[in-house]
Each structure stands twice: as structure tokens, then as C-alpha cells.
Point group: C2
Chain length 235, copies 2
Amino acid sequence: METSILKKVYIFSGLSEEELEDVQKITRTKTFNKGDIIFFDTEPYLGFYITVSGLVKIYKISKDGREHILHLINPYNTFAEVPLFENFGEIREDAFRYPANAMALEDQTKVVLIPARPFTELLAENSRISLKMLSGFAKRLRHLNRHIEEITLKDVTKRVANFVLSEYINKRKTKLDSTHSIRLNISKNDLASYLGTILETLSRTFKKLQEEGIILVEGRTILIKDFEKLKETAS
Amino acid sequence: METSILKKVYIFSGLSEEELEDVQKITRTKTFNKGDIIFFDTEPYLGFYITVSGLVKIYKISKDGREHILHLINPYNTFAEVPLFENFGEIREDAFRYPANAMALEDQTKVVLIPARPFTELLAENSRISLKMLSGFAKRLRHLNRHIEEITLKDVTKRVANFVLSEYINKRKTKLDSTHSIRLNISKNDLASYLGTILETLSRTFKKLQEEGIILVEGRTILIKDFEKLKETAS
DNA sequence: TTAGCTTTTTGACTTAAGTCAAAGGGTTAG
DNA sequence: CTAACCCTTTGACTTAAGTCAAAAAGCTAA
């Protein structure tokens, strides 16, 4: 693994070449195929990860097997940093375990492990990383806040509409592609689990939104036919 | 407001008397009565808060008026720190707004405002605060994770049972009180909103758990009659 | 003590979303 | 080319939890 990868990771983005090499030395790269488990929430904590390529889902499972996806981790984003900071204060039984499960969603999903111990030492020396990390945590807290708001205060139709809308707005910001459509990079089953519902209900909801002339679903491509109506449905 | 209060706040707990006085100088104390709004999620961000006495709820409201409580903030705990760290990177429209609403739940709820600008300067100088803050964020991320898990993967009965159980375990850890009971410091309406349900459903659930001989509810006191069965119901 | 609140309980009913089962499409590998 | 597989859709049915309305129980303050 090269330091050029680390540079693209937000928390490491301010480091010197030398510092990057220090980090690079302690990492371990692993490759997973679709459906492979990266870790379970029952495992002892080793360190946090960077997704380098592919896609990772962070999720919880209920006793009876239902699943809920908390985060989807795209390339150059990190996951499982929380336990790094839980050694302070009283020792909770769930400290030093991963907070959730992680699974690769695509073949050739490459992740980099940053082992906890050497990293925390680096952190103590380099306060710029702490600030970056705080910013990263803040973003994630916002995300979870919004997630809870969605799931507890909105029905499935609103959630689906809002998902399509957010993805579309996000795409417009980053990609130079002027089609009024989005492309899902996950299965509808996973999307349902991310939106706090099940495949069948998602399917019926897509159908309803189509019948109302708001969107058009073709496989993993969703065409937005009535942006205003979509916004209205989402809010 | 005295520095003795700040000392009891986790993120300030490692500071010298001198540093505490620096913080103390920039604070502003406010007192609220039950039902008073501390801030709305639509307001521009001023800074974060410490609850000094009383109780604060952090919550979201849907368009049609339904409410969901995200956090309950007890004395010496902080809230609304997230926007402090959102100035970095792209400016989101919701940056510099509060992430949720805050309301006092008791009369004479005293809160201390730490204005953002002077505090971030302090933060840049004092990296120990950053680490404490990271630890605080980590705890909150865990909490939200668990919260989402509860709401999406468990039914109301399990959630209620688990709430009683957690409160009880928590009480045993902190207070020297050997009764097998807990005392709610919030109304059942607020508890329902915290557990992602409504008052009527909570009431019926309590009734059911009583009929099963697991608990006994008397006003705001809940007596645990069958601990094992409670654990079983909660899991 | 009682009037006037707020909070909680209970009953009857509705409904959104989940479950179960079967069939349809699409993709891939031999 | 086709069998085997996975992913998705559709239909029929169930159910947990929400809504609405009214009564009951608790508090508080004059």
C-alpha cells in the first residue's frame, strides 16, 4: 500500500510525506470478496479501517436475523474508529469490541487496517489528526441523527423519496453527468435494509412512486421524472 | 458560575485552575423552566452547552408534530458540540445550525453556554481537550448506534424491557440504593418518545409486563419483580 | 377541599408495513 | 444453450403499533 492512498483519506490529508510513511508502516492491507465478513460486532477490537476500493456495509443483526445497515463506506473513507477512544473512563463491556458488523459488498473490496496501539501513539503526538478526527466524528453524528430522524418520523415513501433525492443532489455535486438519474451501487435488498424496511415494501414503494409519475426504475438505474414532486414527497 | 462546576464536566476535567478560569470567563449561564426551548434546530449556532442542574431533552419533530427524543442530558453533561467541527471542508447548509431542538424538562434547569469562537481557539492550544472530546463523541456514537439498533430491530416490548433493565443496572452502579426499582425522571409521554413509540402503546406495554409478573408500575416508580424474566424479555 | 389543570389509562378501530409464498427476470458458468 | 442461481416483483394475508375519543387518576394552588 502506498502513501498516495493515505493522502486521499481525510484524517491523514494534512500530514507530511514523512508522517504518512510512519502511518503506512503500521498498516495491513486485506482483500475481500462480496459477502465476506470483515469483522463481527462480537470480535475483539484490532484497529480501524480504510476502504480503498469496493464497498463496505456496517450493519447490525437482530436475534431473529433481520438486518439494519447503519453506514455504507466508500473508498477513502474510514470505519470502526469509535473503540479507539473508549479506553478512557470506566471500562464498558462493549468497549474493545467492534460497534457493529462489517461486510464487503463487492468483489475485490480492498481495506487497510490501522492497528489501534501504534495509531493512538501517533495521535498523542499529532494533534492535527485529532481535530480531523473530531470533524469526522461530527459528520457521522450528524448522519446518525438524520438517520434516526428519518426512521422514526417518516414513513417508507418519504424515506425512499428522500434517499433518491439526496443521492441525486450528491451526484450532481461530485460527478459531471447531466442525466436526471441515479445509479444504485447496492442491491435493493441492501437498500431496503439501509432505509429501515424490507425488500418487498421497497419494491411496492418504487412501484407507487412510478405510478405517480415521479420516478422510473430500470434495474439499478432510477430516472427522476418530476423533481418538484419528488422534493414534495420527500419532505 | 464557578470553576468547580466546570471541573465536573468530563471534557474540562484535566484542566488546571488557570485554564478553567479562562473557560469560565467566556461562559454565559441561563436558567429555563419546564417546557422552555433552549434552541431550535433552525437557529444559527452560538456554541455548545453544559447542563448544570435540571434536565434537557434533545429532540426532533416531524412536520405533522410527532416528536422523537435523541438524548436526555443530565447535569455536568454537554450537548450541541457537533457544529463546532463542521466548519472544516465543504460548507453544508445545515452546518452552523443546531442538529436538533433542545428543551428544559424541569423547572430551574440551569445551562451554561460556551460560545463557539473563543472555545475553538482554546481547543487549538489544548490538545488534551480534543482527546477528551473525541472520547465524548465516541460515547455518543455508540449511544446512537445502540439507539438505532433498538428502534429498527426490536419491538416495543423489548425496548421497554431493555430500558428498565439498563436504568436499573445503571442505578446500581452509581447510587447506593438496594431496592429493586427505578424511578423515572421524565414523563411517560417523553419516555414513549425516547423509545420511539407513543404514550398509549407504552401504557399498554407496561400493563402487559405487569400482567406477566415482570414489573410493577406505580406512578413514576417501576419495581422489578422478576429480574431474569426481564432480562429475557429485553434480549 | 375543590376546581382546574396535566398526565395516564383504557377501549374501539384503522392502517402501514411486515410475512409468507409463488412466480418472473436477469445473469453466469459449465 | 440451458440449467442454476440470485435478485426482484406481485399477491394474499397478518399483525404490531398508531389514531381517536373518553374516562380516570394525580397534582397543584387558591
